[in-house]
Each structure stands twice: as C-alpha cells, then as structure tokens.
C-alpha cells in the first residue's frame, strides 16, 4: 500500500533495453521481439512490475476504497495543481483561437457506441431510459455548425472491460476536452491537435518547472510537425518487431505501448480501417474501407493521447455505418433526423485530461491523475 504513497522520486535513468521486461509480460510471451531500442519511462516500467505482482488487484481495491486518503498525499497535491494548469493551458490556447467553450451534456437518449468493448451506463429518466455520455460526440456536429469552432470539457463514463484495470490508461469516469471545427478536414484537426499539445507542454515547462522538478519529470519541449504514420505503416512496424497485429482492427494496447516506446516525441497514426472506429469517423470516399481519422500517441510508452476524425455528415452514410454495431437505427432517431436537417462537414478530436496529466507528470497509471478515480470493476468512493 505504501507503494503508491512514496514521495518524490527522480527518474533520470532510462532503461534502453527492455527486451527482458517485454518478454516477461504474459501478453507478449508469445512474441519474439527482435532487439530494438524501446525506451519506456521508468513509471511505465514500474506499472509493469506492479501489475504483474501477485495481489495487485487487492492492493488497488484497498487503496481506492479509501481514496480520500490519497488526495492528501504530497505527490498527489502536486499532480492536481498540475492538472489545473493543464486545463487552463488548453483553454487559453483554444480561447485565443476563437473557440467557444460549451457546457457538456451529461445524459441523453443515446451516446457514443464506438468504444472498444465498454458498456454504457443507463439511468432511469421518469420511466424512460437515458444513457450517461460515453462521449459528447453526437452533440458536437450541430454545435460546430452553429458556432464554427467549439469545445466541451466533457465528463464521460464508460464501463470498460475488467481486464483494462491493468493497462494503467483506463478510467471508468474521466474528462476529455472535445474539440470540433466546422469546415475542417482531418489533417486540419491533426495540425490543431499538435499545436495545442505543444502549447500546453510549453506553458507547463515555463510556469510549473518547480512541480516538474518535484515530480522528477524531465519534459522536453516539442515542436510540430509530429511524425505521421498511416495505420498500415504502424502495423508494419509492429509486425517487423514480431508483434502480431491485424490490418483490419485498431492497434492493441500493447502494440501502442511499443510504438510509443520507440518515440521521443508524440506522433500520429492516421487512416484507420473501417470497422476499427465508430460510425461517425468518416470513410474516405476515394478509398473505401479507410477512415479519415487519427490517433495521437505520447512517447515513452504512455500510449494514446488524442483521438480524432473527420465526421460522416449524411444520414444515408451514417445509417449504413450504424449497422456495423448491429443496432436498430431507430435508437438514434434524433441524431439521424438532425443529420437529415443538415449539418456542416466538420472534424475534431478529444484529448483525455487524465492521460495528459499522467504523461506530463510521468505517473505510473492514469488513476493517479485525478481525485477519486473509478476503475473497471472496482467499487470505490
């Protein structure tokens, strides 16, 4: 238990050969990795040894059952201050570029179904069913049509599969800043995403260097443009390393971690295959089966940072894509009617605030990056 409460550690040693570490991981035992320089942040390695330990889940349950104690710890105080700074930096950047911040919706008849294996939360609404937002995606297009450039700081709930408790990057309750720009394409959204991140990093390096030092975090200044790989290229890189990856699905979390460990700077993976994402990510009209979407990944093994795309905006196309989840489109009636009334083409992305905090502070797991975290399968205050 004390394990999570230890004070400021200095991470200045990077372990360059993580070969052994990777092979120790059960999920990776099957793969033969060629010798390659995968540079993980010490926290990422720390998480690996934590989660592979017997009794990790019990420890975590004990710890989180009294999460009010955690918030009093010195290290966490620094993290929360940092988080406030990050949010302020995001707002500063977006506001200065003419974005309008909107109040996020919390409940509604339907929500984002395009999430990997996670269940939505249903609440009783005067005898009818409402969903708690798993993302504000369905509300973004019309607001962008109306106001041009918008964002929500949107609290989301996703009942993730219990296995994700070990990934260090999944929370049941989290906040993402959800950005949408009317008339933009996905490349514009990628440019915006990298500029936003660079601005945020620059500001914390300038304003919060004391905190960074306390946390033992060496954060380099990044500069755009970040490297960009198509999904197919990313799959090839992983395959060359001996990591089995499918061309037709999202890259598994372990794969993203390896890719992330190969980089010193954030980078993009774009053009995911159809079937890997929700119905709202636009299929390239010239390249059927390829989506005009992207992920930005943090370096050093921290994994996914941002997920974004150009949107489908015609009801015909969305109806067809909706069938992918096997659902009856009648469930999305209001959304389809809205599309039929007409929305402008748009593109946007969401950036997870806790994941950003984890990366900037160099934390082992994302649950350390917010007060009162809720983890898959763990009941806590």
């Amino acid at each position: 238990m004390y394990y999570f409460l230890f004070k400021f550690r200095h991470h200045d040693v990077y372990f360059t050969n993580l070969f052994e570490q990777l092979l120790n991981h059960t999920k990776l035992k099957a793969f033969v990795m060629r010798s390659v320089e995968v540079r993980y942040h010490p926290s990422v390695r720390q998480l690996e040894s934590m989660t592979s330990r017997e009794g990790y889940l019990e420890e975590l349950k004990n710890l989180l059952s009294r999460s009010y104690r955690l918030v009093r710890d010195e290290r966490y105080k620094v993290v929360y201050r940092m988080q406030a700074e990050l949010l302020a930096a995001i707002r500063e950047y977006l506001d200065s570029r003419g974005f309008v911040e909107l109040l996020p919706p919390i409940i509604g008849p339907v929500t984002d179904p395009g999430i990997r294996g996670a269940k939505q939360v249903t609440v009783d609404f005067y005898g009818s069913e409402y969903k708690v937002m798993s993302s504000a995606i369905l509300y973004k297009q019309m607001m962008a049509t109306t106001l041009g450039k918008i964002y929500f700081a949107s609290p989301n709930v996703r009942l993730e599969p219990p296995e994700t408790v070990y990934t260090g990057r999944h929370l049941v309750e989290f906040v993402q800043v959800d950005v949408e720009v009317a008339g933009a394409d996905y490349r514009d959204a990628m440019n915006l995403a990298e500029e936003l991140l660079c601005h945020v990093i620059k500001r914390v390096r300038e304003e919060r260097y004391m905190e960074l030092e306390l946390l033992g975090r060496e954060l380099p200044a990044f500069s755009p443009p970040f490297k960009r790989y198509t999904h197919a290229e990313a799959v090839d890189i992983l395959r060359n390393l001996g990591f089995k990856t499918s061309r037709s699905t999202e890259i598994p979390w372990e794969g993203e971690k390896i890719l992330s460990g190969l980089h010193d700077e954030p980078f993009f993976i774009y053009n995911y295959p159809r079937g890997a994402r929700g119905f709202y990510d636009r299929e390239d009209p010239e390249k059927p089966g390829i989506l005009r979407d992207f992920d930005m990944l943090y370096p050093e093994g921290f994994g996914e940072a941002i997920s974004g795309a150009e949107r489908e905006y015609t009801s015909e196309k969305v109806l067809e894509r909706m069938r992918e989840t096997g659902e009856n489109p009648v469930k999305y009636k209001w959304y389809l009617e809205m599309l039929r009334d007409g929305v402008e083409p748009s593109a946007g992305f969401g950036i997870g605030v806790e994941r950003l905090t984890r990366f900037v502070c160099g934390l082992e797991a994302v649950w350390m990056a917010r007060p009162y975290p809720k983890l898959p399968g763990i009941y806590s205050p």
């Binding site: 294996g117 079937g275 096997g326």
Partner: protein, 459 residues
C-alpha cells in the same frame, strides 16, 4: 340465456379446438420427425445405437416398415447419400502399427478445434433463443452441453425477453443463468459458448454488457466465449423473429420491439412481438466482423447464415474478415416460430448448402464451416464432414433429449452420436473425423451425384 349458452359452446369449441390442434401437431411432429430415435438415444445413450432396446422397431425395420420415413421432406437430404466402406484398409494397418493391436472404432479421434474452441466432438448446440420450448430447458441444456465438451450457442432476444441476470418471466432462466450453467460445468477446457445479439438486444448493448461483466472476465481470458452475428436462420432466411408476449412484458418492451398493437391502447392477454432481421451488405457485414474483433479481442467471432442464394460469396467475405466459424443453417433448420410458407418454400435445403460450402472452400476459407438443418445422427455428422463441413450444429435433437432426461439426456445423446460417428468413420478406414472426404460417399440419385461430384452407386 341463449347468449350464455352460445358463449359456453364457443368456449368449448375453442378449448376442444386448441386441444385438438395440440394433439394434431404432436402427432404430426412425431410422424414427420424421428422423435423416437432421438428419445431412445436420450434415454439410453450409446446403447441406443443398436436397436436392442426397441425390439419392436427393430423388427418392423427388418420388415421394411416406415422406420426411415420420418425426416423425409420433399427435397433431397443427406439421407439420399450412403457411406461407402472399402474392404482394403491401409489406414487401419497404419493405425495398428501405432497401437500394436487391431484398431477398434473407439480409436477414432473426435477431439478437434471448431471456431477457435477445443471440443470433444465437432457437434454444436445450435443457437436457441428466447422461444418458450428452448428457454425453459436452457439451464439443463447448457449443463449437458458443457459436460459433453461441445460448443453451445445462445440465440437472440434472451436477455431482452427473459432478463440479463435477473429473471423477467416465471420458469424461464435469465441469459446469465444459462451462460454460467455452461461455463461452470466445462471440463478440461473442452467446449465454448457463443452468444447472439439481435437488433433489439443491441439496444441494451448486450455484447458490451457481457464483455464488461466481472463474473465472465476469467472465461474471456480462457478464450471460451464468443459472439455470433446472426445473418438469418434456416427455415426463415430474411425474416425476423415473431413471438407472442404477455401484456406486462409487452408494456416493458414496447420501446425496443415493433408491436403491431400498442399495449397501452389495445388490452389483450398476448401481443405479437416482431423483431427485425437486420440489414446487411458486403461492407456492413465485413465491418461488423472487424468491429467485433476490434472491440472484443478476447472473444471468438462466429457468423450464422441462413440458406441464401449468395452463400458462396458471403462465406468468402466472412472468412476474409477473420471470422472464426461460419454456420450455414439449411432450410430444414431453425424451424421454431417460422411461418408455414417460409418453412415450405423459402431457402436452400441443407444438402444444397453443403454443396455451396464445398464451393466456398475451394476458393479458400480459413474459418471453420458448420452446417445445420434437419441433422440428428452420427451418420449425418459423418456425411456432412465428408462433404466439407468442419462441424454440424443441431437444435431439435437437443431439445428432445433434454426434455426426456435433463442434462443427462444431452450427454447421452452426444455420446450416442459420437459412437455412431466413430463406427462409421472407422468402417471407412479413417481414424480421425478430419480425414473424411467425398470418396466416402455415394449417392442414390444421379443428379445429386453429378452436382456434388460423388459416385453414383448404381453406375
């Protein structure tokens, strides 16, 4: 007075009518379906392979009575094929070399992999859903199938109609009861369970719910759970499900299903509940499969197809998208709650589906191919495998077996089918079910022989 008499009379007529129709349907079922054969297997297990316990039947069969009449519809079935054992058996010699004794039929290997699951026998309990007859016996059936080490499917609408973990109806287990009954009775990792999600189940995100259920976590880790996309059903390809539901349930379900009569306006005891068949195109189906693999990386992906004319193409698309197993349900299958016209005239018979499975396999299919529809014996299993299927799914035989003797009925029935399959296979000089091939088959009809490229036995 007259009015009351009239109503009494009409009630009697109605009651008598209902009774008569029940008796009639019972009789016609036993006349057109080999109920006794399955019943005796369910009761006696392996012993039923020999008709010793049914001496009367045995005698009648010898006299050429109508024993083989049941199961003969107007189109050709697997019963138009016979198995052709050779006199010279080089494989038996090889097997003898391995065993250092004369091989017996019990030496035929039946363990194999089907759709990503390790199984004792390539026999699958076809996905049965919320329909009364299947739902009531769901738990016993699950236990029996798990103990027998074969794959079982759970059909559509179970969670929505009967409840996910808490029961919605008396005498009907919830989905999770059926699931857990199966998973907790599996032995040595043999078997696997697949769950369908109808358009209406999707409303409540059934698959997401199962995938994020803490109680099922260890089973996903073990790799013994899968999801089945349903693209139709044998007896009613292209049609959805029709069921009658009570008023209470109708009121609860009215937002999710199409009910022609609004239970809030029309007051009745029972309401028709329609469920949609779902819309598919090549792009939709392959994306759906990918999405499933993407969202549930630790679940197997199965697809169930109805007897469609474009089967070959659909099979190829499913296989290319990475499906673990594809079940083709011939028109003799999935007869529960099917309209009579559909039963009579809609879709390809099982034998024709097997022909298309063979054609698809020649194009290169990596998924396991499962066939179903009116199949009920070890001989059907052997013939289907010889024609290119990797496994056979059955529905009604399991319902009869479980009603006759509970979970024991199921294990007995599987044991009997396994023994039959082993006998026939060994007689064909094969010692693994995988080695069965078209050379083992002969056709009683010239046209079937030509179409399936089998030998015509009289030529």
């Amino acid at each position: 007075m007259m009015e009351r008499l009239f109503s009494l009379a009409s009630r009697l007529v109605l009651r008598y009518g209902i009774l008569r129709s029940t008796v009639r349907s019972g009789l016609s079922f036993s006349r057109t379906y080999p109920v006794w054969e399955i019943l005796s297997k369910a009761r006696a297990g392996k012993d039923a392979v020999y008709p010793f316990n049914e001496l009367e039947e045995y005698g009648r069969a010898l006299l050429g009575a109508e024993v083989y009449e049941p199961g003969y519809p107007r189109f050709h079935t697997l019963d138009r094929l016979v198995l052709l054992p050779p006199a010279f058996t080089p494989n038996r010699l090889a097997k003898m070399g391995e065993l250092l004794r004369e091989p017996l039929y019990t030496d035929v290997r039946t363990e194999c992999f089907v759709g990503g699951f390790k199984v004792k026998l390539p026999l699958v309990v076809g996905s049965m859903g919320s329909t009364d007859v299947a739902s009531r016996v769901g738990v016993e059936l699950a236990r029996g199938a798990a103990k027998a080490g074969i794959v079982m499917g759970i059909g559509e609408n179970v969670a929505t109609m009967r409840g996910y973990d808490r029961r919605r109806c008396r005498n009907h287990p919830s989905l999770k009861e059926r699931l857990m009954a199966y998973l907790e009775n599996m032995k040595d990792g043999f078997g696997g369970i697949i769950i369908q999600q109808s358009v209406e189940d999707a409303y409540d995100e059934l698959w997401n719910r199962i995938y994020s259920d803490v109680d099922l976590e260890s089973y996903f880790e073990e790799g013994v759970v899968g999801f089945e996309i349903k693209v139709g059903q044998g007896a009613k390809p292209g049609l959805g499900g029709e069921v009658k539901v009570s008023r209470d349930l109708a009121l609860e379900l009215k937002d999710k299903y199409y009910l022609p009569e609004d239970p809030e306006i029309v007051i009745k005891d029972f309401y028709e509940r329609h469920s949609a068949p779902g819309t598919f195109t090549e792009a939709i189906l392959s994306s759906m499969i990918r999405l499933l693999k993407n969202n549930y990386p630790r679940a197997r992906v199965w697809v169930k197809l109805g007897p469609y004319r474009d089967l070959v193409r659909v099979i190829k698309i499913c296989s290319d998208a990475g499906t673990d197993a594809i079940t083709v349900d011939g028109k003799e299958g999935g007869t529960g709650m099917s309209p009579i016209v559909a039963l009579k005239d809609l879709g390809l018979p099982t034998l024709a589906c097997l022909k298309r499975i063979g054609d698809a396999k020649r194009l290169g299919v990596s998924s396991s191919m499962v066939v179903s529809g009116g199949l009920y014996s070890g001989s059907h299993l052997v013939k289907a495998l010889a024609l290119g299927a990797d496994a056979v799914a059955m529905g009604r035989p399991f319902i009869i077996a479980v009603q006759a003797k509970g979970e024991r009925g199921v294990t007995n029935f599987v044991e009997a089918v396994r023994a039959e399959a082993q006998m026939l296979t060994s007689a064909l000089d094969k010692y693994s079910l995988k080695d069965l091939s078209p050379e083992d088959l002969g056709s009683l009809d010239k046209d079937i022989a030509d179409a399936l490229e089998l030998s015509y036995i009289y030529s």
